[in-house]
Amino acid sequence: MYSETVMDHFNNPRNQREIPDADGIGEVGNQKCGDIMRIFLKIHDNVIEDASFQTFGCGAAVASSSMATEMIKGKTLEEAWEISNKAVAEALEGLPPQKLHCSVLAEEAIHAAINNYLEKMGLEPWEEGEGSCAGCSGCGTD
């Protein structure tokens, strides 16, 4: 059911740790849906120097978190913000349709972590673009 890349990221998750002195932390999802994703960012000079995650969820949720943290490392905040759920799913060589919401969570977690950093810096949080939940059957809760 899962691609080799998903299984690789599930079995050998990258960046699976807590960053105790993180500059930005984003947590999305809820226990009811069965997925919670927390992303930690270490930011210097507008660039994501380090990223890590903790995830409660299925194989796709863990793999999406792992892949997302890999994709944003070394990126500027603007570049990281633009990484879509679709890009995460594609990097994983696809996800089953009912698991696409896991990649949506990854995108949302990145946004939440960046905004958490911006707020800490006394800056306005960035607004979500439209359709971040596109293609997701949703978990029935908003």
Binding site: R38, F56, C58
Partner: protein, 393 residues
Amino acid sequence: MENKHEIYLDNAATTRTHPDVVSAMLPYFSLHFGNPSSLYSIARSSRTAIEEARRKVAAALGADEREIFFTSGGTESDNWAIRGIASAHGKKGRHIITTAIEHHAVLHTVEALEKEGFEITYLPVDEYGMVSPESVEEAIRPDTILISVMLANNEIGTIQPVQKIGEIARSHKIIFHSDAVQAIGQIPVDVRTMNVDLLSISAHKFGGPKGVGALFIRRGLRIDPLLYGGAQEQRRRAGTENVPGIVGLGAAIERAAAMMSEKAERMKKLRKRLIDGLLTIPKSRLNGHPTERLPNNVNIIFDYIEGESILLLLDANGIAASTGSACTSASLDPSHVLLACGLPHEQAHGSLRLTLGEETTEADIDYVLGVVPTVVQRLRDMSPLTPKELRTR
């Protein structure tokens, strides 16, 4: 990852067709291939084989052979029992009583009837997944035509007080159906002591082949067919008989009945070893009833982690298991059975079901007990929900 071990602990999903059962079936593919409805001699052996299988099923259930009707499996038997009664008795009343923890073959069938104007009462269960006979009695109305309560639950293994419910149904002259799919070969099933009018079974749950089952229909009970066509099965279930499958069902149920008590004792010992071992993991709990449960069923919740992840890591270690987490299904809701037992959604996502089989050994259990704590710890270390004191890093 290398799979040195292959441990199959999902016997509630399906069982291996026993080699003896396969041997019994084989002649009925190419050798005795005749249509049982035909007159010529090569068809006669097919007919004889079906009737022999019918005797075996009837004997195992304490029924008369004229009360056994072969179907394509548990799902068809459940559909037929419920739809057939609704259709034949719908003029008398349009109320059906069932439970919140039935298999989807029952639940989705009554939901379909709900759309056709039937009223359904879904009885609740207690924290152990047990239906109370009193709640059945209280739910009965003048227009109740059918009560359907499973004998044993497929997820948590809880065995229902079906005999008492049957007495209540009979005293009110209401038709009583029980889905016994999980119970055959595990606990004694006798249609007379259970007071059932209809009982569903499925061959592949007890060492038989997939795609064949049976419905016990008490003699004299009026029921409409589900499938229309030829005159097979006393004109009640049309379609050329699945002869090899039926022979397999007969062979499997005879075998399962003969070895049941011995097997159940062995299963209970292994089950205890497994449950006791798994419950040493902190923040773990047993789902289902502690004693009134199928001898082969273990269902445990581990807090802070999700079931599909557990299954994937167990699979990587050669262990085949199951979960009530939504993440293994197309819907995003976790197990309706665990929710009905009062578990919150977040806990229902973290369940692990291990169902033992006749091939399960003590060494298998010990291997599983070595693997599961490691898997649980690994996922807990990964989860944002895990409290500090349960983390290793």
